[in-house]
Symmetry: C2
Subunit: 433 residues, 2 copies
């Protein structure tokens, strides 16, 4: 006997978990397509060298790397962005702007622990070949539309721009080679608080005395620091460009009718990844505090790592598992109803053909219909329907079959009535209305 | 610079390939749900020991096996059936009968060659916990419904039963330990022809002199040999049970209204895998000759490998890539239309807000709508729409925006008219009607 086990950090999704996941994925892909994004799939395996060196030192360690039979270093994809950059480099004939979506698993060789898995799903949209902030804004419109469609309400789209942060770093006298350290420290603000961030910047010797004061008062001060920092960088070319981009993004959000309570310019948003070059985004749910459910931003230099030609690109990524967690915790998932709408009973071999015909007729009428799998007692079949929350049962006994009739039982109310078989679809549809 | 490459035997699916794949997967899952199957997902990685020893010697060699960082032997799943058996063993509380579907990639460490890939998709439905042939029949109803919905017509569902083949082997005096060799030889009939099959059986010393005659005349003779073999095994208990099961399956197909030209009992169908125990199935497309697009059967002893308790189960598996190949070769895929229905132009920063609002309005009216990504010349935007086969373009110039109007261009006919913005949705819907 083989012990039935699953590798650590991996999960099965039984139907009770899977139905919500499927509903989220369907809602997302419908909205992605509504905005003109087309599906694109990449394989799960990439050459390791394609992924390495893109996610920072910590990220590199988490790449799920191994050797294939031929001794080549391969890896399970770490995210959906680098494989897309590889695709954009390989197929340069793809017409631009190219707008794609992908919902697929990614892998991280992380320590398995509660809520942290080695296989999880990302849901990405990207626009390749459009340098303007209108493309970035569109990603946020889609994000907002998805969250609204899923029933979210208490969330905040945080918006910042690496150009503004770069201009700030310059203004603070930080050497351009040290900017990643500056951003990494700032990225910890939410979790560690302003004192810890300041201390990290100081111990890394990033800040002069004057710079410390500016950081403490303008960047890390209480409340909204965006305008204070904006004033500092407005006369730098990079900073002004970053500010104009954010202005355009908020104009688009406003024109689309997104309520101002859903988004905010936030100068403390840094995003961990090295490859962002322009607008960056994050969506946080205010309650429960679970961290971000979406992240992304512009990465104009990434595709150029493969082609040496610069190619503008921007993208966002939803974390499917986080969405599921929030929806379950807030009771937004609803009672997971059966997807089957009708069960047709089966009492004897003689009635089998009648049952098959009736089930086929109900399916043609658009009803998800199960024929009970074998002849059995009524009680057993009723308990099957009840256990799966199937809302309607059609009882087909020998007399009823002979007369072209059947008994419809409404499992929600307990009511039942004998009907002509051709009247069943309408009566069952009424149960759902 | 990193050369953008992909590991051998793997593929990217750009939108032109992906849209058909997505359409097939959506059609399938809708029909699976129509028959009461629920989604279930398993991780891509399993412990290697879970997979090994289930697929026969040849199969074992193709398992995509490697060591994880902790030195544990893991493997990418080889099919969707063994992981399901593992799931059924791990979660014995799952209510039975349990009907699941899964559409997901599997991996084989095969030699990459034309048309043979290391990553490909299987689309499976399984019923666990139902021993009767009614469950097997239902799988075929679903297969038929899927093929009809996809537009297939020229196919044959081949049906056989391992019980009949086992009874035949017994009748031929073949030792039960040698039955797998007998089935493996028979399985080659389609490709190698009757002489080669007979020769393989003889050189494996499976057949006595009398048995050779029976095999040549009854099993491998020209035309339909089912009845000839049925007569040989009808007095064996196993053989008779197998025949009864097939009789029930064909009764269900008939009751459902499946035309007889779509299915056939076929005594030469053996199926390669060792684990089948009862009815077995295959669907072949008559033109183009591409081999089977679906295979499956009953595997009552498989889950018991993990639990020591017998648990009846049956399943079928569509090969997504084969379906795609046939649909493309037969021109069934249709012209892959853009999923975007309308493009709204963008001419200037001043018109941006108007464009965003209009696009939002069209989306609310149920139209997949793109706003052109940046201000540009009309000609460029028209060629974007034409290149993507977007059927409608809404041209929004400054005068039109001021007057609450827009020009609708029908890209299929070239016709255009100026309309009030609120009349656009109805006019665009008319283009598709």
């Amino acid at each position: 006997m083989i012990e039935p086990q699953i590798p650590k950090g991996f999960r099965d999704f039984l139907p009770q978990q899977m139905i919500l996941r499927r509903n989220i994925m369907r809602t997302m892909s419908a909205i992605f397509e509504q905005y003109g994004f087309v599906p694109l799939d990449t394989p799960c395996l990439e050459y390791a060298r394609t992924l390495e060196g893109k996610y920072g030192e910590e990220g590199d360690k988490l790449i799920y790397r191994f050797e294939d039979r031929g001794g080549r270093a391969v890896a399970l994809r770490y995210d959906l962005t680098i494989p897309l950059a590889r695709v954009a480099a390989m197929y340069q004939q793809l017409p631009k702007p190219f707008k794609r979506y992908q919902i697929a698993p990614v892998w991280r060789a992380d320590k398995p622990q509660k809520g942290r898995f080695r296989e999880f799903y990302q849901c990405d949209i990207d626009i390749i070949g459009s340098p303007g902030a209108c493309a970035d804004a569109e990603l946020l419109l889609v994000a907002h539309a998805v969250l609204q469609a899923l029933g979210f309400d208490n969330y905040l789209i945080r918006i910042n721009n690496r150009k503004i942060l770069n201009a700030l770093a310059e203004r603070l006298g930080i050497d351009s080679a040290r900017i990643p350290d500056f951003l990494r420290a700032l990225d910890k603000l939410d979790k560690a608080g302003p004192e810890a961030v300041l201390q990290e910047m100081q111990s890394a010797q990033l800040l002069s005395h004057d710079a410390q004061t500016i950081v403490r008062e303008r960047l890390l001060g209480e409340g909204d620091n965006f305008e204070a920092v904006a004033a500092l960088v407005a006369d730098s070319e990079t900073g002004a460009a970053g500010l104009r981009e954010l202005e355009l993004i908020t104009r688009v959000l406003e024109a689309d009718g997104v309520d101002v309570r859903y988004y905010q310019k936030d100068i403390s948003l840094a995003r961990g990844l090295d490859y962002y070059t322009g607008p960056i985004f994050e969506v946080v749910v205010r309650e429960p505090r679970i961290g971000s459910i979406l992240g992304g931003g512009r990465y104009d230099d990434l595709i150029g790592l493969f082609t040496r030609q610069s190619m503008p690109a921007t993208g966002i990524s939803f974390g499917l598992e986080r969405l599921v967690t929030v929806m379950e915790e807030l009771g937004m998932a609803g009672k997971t109803h059966s997807m089957t709408q009708v069960l047709v009973t089966q009492f004897s071999d003689e009635l089998l053909a009648e049952g098959v015909k009736l089930a086929a007729q109900l399916r043609r009428a658009g009803l998800n219909t199960e024929l009970y799998h074998a002849p059995d007692k009524l009680k057993k079949q009723m308990s099957y329907a009840a256990g799966r929350a199937i809302p309607a049962v059609v009882v087909l006994g020998p007399d009823e079959a002979r007369e072209g009739r059947a008994t419809l039982k409404n499992m929600l109310t307990g009511a039942q009535e004998v009907l002509a078989q051709q009247d069943l679809p309408a009566a069952i549809h009424k149960i759902f209305a």
